[in-house]
Subunit: 118 residues, 2 copies
């Protein structure tokens, strides 16, 4: 976990790419069931994570998604994508395109810095 | 197109499931580059579309995603998902799970009503 407050917490998804998941602390099934406070907090975090991923990793694109089909607890994925990653331009849930050969700046440093920005 | 204003427009994605795409009118690459007005308008629309999809289709889950890897113009997918659809519980970009055999209420009526709610 890299961040938490009364409304949300953020976990790292272990992956070849920088990927975090933002969960509501309350177990809510659908995003529209969130309070305004929870929605705004999620949007604030998406905005900051996206900017930090672009600036630190020079990501080619940021992907954002909220599915929750298997785990019906509102959570948002935020992923930094790169033209050379294993799935680009497919979503990370799509068909693998190639063997990834990414050399990216240190993830640990990024996640620590990110926690400090939130 | 089922809705448009100065900030966004909404298109239908033809599919076995109810699926719409919300585009910013300006050609922006990343969500964090949107103005606060654009962001709030997108969130307002996601919220309404999600609620309407749940109420009209009795969807099992709503999926929301913004990738833009192929088309680097900010757009959000909002999809009503059903346990019997072709990909559930995988995302629609994932591996097909079964031949879909959905019988859903009329899509045209839904999209027309949805346009009126926005």
């Amino acid at each position: 976990m890299i961040f938490e407050n009364d409304l949300v917490f953020i976990e790292i998804e272990p992956s070849e790419i920088p990927w975090v998941k933002v969960f509501t602390r309350r177990e809510i099934k659908e995003f529209s069931e969130c309070t305004t406070e929870e929605k705004l907090e999620i949007f604030r975090i998406i905005d900051i994570v996206e900017k930090q991923m672009i600036s630190y990793f020079k990501a080619d694109k940021i992907n954002i998604a909220s599915f929750g089909n298997m785990l019906p607890h509102v959570h948002w994925h935020i992923m930094a994508r790169f033209k050379q990653d294993s799935h680009f331009p497919e979503p990370m849930w799509g068909q693998k395109q190639r063997q990834s050969n990414l050399t990216l700046p240190n993830f640990e440093v990024f996640f620590k810095e990110l926690g400090g920005c939130l």
